[in-house]
Symmetry: C2
Subunit: 321 residues, 2 copies
């Protein structure tokens, strides 16, 4: 039984290998460039942890974890094109450095390579893992499309936002755990419980992310506080504020949408506070976290095996709040 940090160190070592041939360099240099930008590698480590919850890590779980990380990087390369994002992790995005066409194709080949790694799992599990991966990949695309659609809408319902976040973020975390569980020999009920744990954990994480953007400690939070507010991003906070604010507060919230002004962040945060959005968000996060831990609790393995996942949940969700 190993902690997230221990498995992350091992995964990083495994992942350092050369994933792409040298030629054509015009196609594969962009992929190499993007992968060396790094990342927290949460999803592949979840896959390893999902396996280790049930049994010692199968040799091909490393390959499946690699597939998941490559798939995640494919989504980032294409999302950056769609968002016209100039930077990722402080460095140039692929399309910014190599042009849109090459970034598009580099993303495509990254995704296919993900399938190539996934194909290395044992034949007995291939069909079920592939089905889960396909379903998840389609949902991730749907989530990205919904996210783009929401940018064009004045108001988005809580339910619709939740569904978007679930697809864009949570399902891949959940599937990472479940693929690990399948490779670890888990029974179907245990697989489903672990999937559900990942889904709820992802939602809790997103609520926290939205919360920290508005109310985080600037000295601890990596990003600019109020960034979502400035960008008029739909977040759990904005959606709940619009849902619950009185007519006057709602009018002021809508007034600030699309406006840029030095007072904007302070004004919007003060409306959030007047609607108690901050307390509500902490409660919502806690609720998702408890649901996640309840699912984990029900999984039929000795409780000591669950400690790394419980610690990870605590670490991810409690951080800096």
């Amino acid at each position: 039984m190993q902690s997230f940090a221990q498995l992350a160190a091992q995964f990083n070592q495994f992942f350092e290998r050369e994933h792409f041939p040298t030629s054509p360099a015009s196609l594969y240099d962009p992929n190499r460039y993007f992968l060396q930008l790094g990342g927290k590698r949460i999803r592949p480590v979840l896959c390893l942890m999902g396996n280790e919850l049930f049994s010692s890590i199968h040799s091909t779980t490393w390959e499946a974890a690699t597939a998941i990380e490559l798939f995640h990087n494919f989504t980032l390369i294409h999302d950056d094109i769609m968002d016209k994002a100039p930077l990722r992790r402080g460095l140039q995005t692929v399309h910014e450095k190599y042009g849109n066409n090459t970034a598009l194709l580099a993303g495509d080949v990254m995704m296919i390579k993900a399938y190539a790694y996934l194909s290395k799992v044992p034949e007995a599990s291939l069909s079920s893992i592939l089905s889960l991966f396909n379903k998840t990949a389609i949902e991730v695309c749907e989530g990205q499309q919904l996210d783009m659609d929401f940018e064009q809408q004045a108001q988005v319902s809580f339910g619709a936002y939740l569904q978007m976040i679930e697809k864009k973020t949570s399902v891949l975390l959940a599937a990472s755990l479940m693929i690990g569980a399948i490779l670890g020999g888990a029974g179907e009920r245990n697989q489903q419980l672990l999937y559900s744990f990942g889904l709820k954990l992802g939602l809790a994480f997103q609520v926290q992310d939205d919360y920290l953007d508005a109310f985080g400690d600037p000295s601890k939070f990596g990003k600019q506080v109020g960034g979502d507010v400035l960008a008029d991003k739909k977040t759990f906070l904005l959606i709940h504020a619009l849902d619950t604010a009185d007519a006057d507060a709602k009018e002021r919230l809508l007034y600030w949408q699309g406006r840029q002004d030095t007072h904007k962040v302070a004004e919007v945060l003060s409306i959030y506070k007047s609607c108690h959005v901050d307390e509500w968000a902490l409660q919502l996060k806690q609720q998702f976290l408890e649901q996640a831990l309840a699912d984990l609790d029900q999984i039929a393995v000795v409780s000591s095996r669950k400690i790394p996942l419980q610690s990870l949940a605590d670490y991810l969700i409690q951080r800096q709040v």
Copy 2:
């Protein structure tokens, strides 16, 4: 044993089904739009023919054929973005109609859906079919990248162009046949021979395509004669002409690159003729066709089963020359 036309009619019926859910319509309407633009469905029918060369068509070969056609359509959607093509089959391309972001994502989801169909083949064949499909898909991306790279180069060698065409066009034809062969229970040597048949047939087809663009009968050839010349496209003809022309003819050829003038097509074609590029191209096509048919000939099944593929090769390659 059925002809290409018979199998195409059946495949079109099978393929008419709804491949995508209705929601989010912003993502799936573009996919539906693109598929109803039609196409000759050569690749999926090759898959069916590859199966029928060895045994009656397996129920899941229809799914594999669908996967191949969806994959091909994914490449068209993304290629159209990269080429900034306004039209496909006389109608708006996906990015032209729905915007670049949606076209990018619609292509992504089309590719994932291809994998979803492919996953339906029997478990015993899944691993080998998936490996072949992944290898092929990566090569198709590499071919597209090489094609884009060549646009920036003044001169391209015959070998490099051949490799590009093989990857961009031939390998998917070859893999379509081979996937069908695997599902039809072919042995490994027969699979490889059929793959090689497809590869050579694809090359013969491309030589013919390049030839017809320059020397085809305008009344029979669907496209504008000289289109490749006007667009300065690297073709078998241009590459061979640059390789074999004397200093004066080569200088004139290079002079016309990048120039637009009403005399351009006539001038370039006259240089081609002076270098006997037309006769050379017909010989090259014949050579690839004979190599293809020699591979088919060696496949260990009764010769009557080979008739539909022989007829198809004759039909594809002899047309309108």
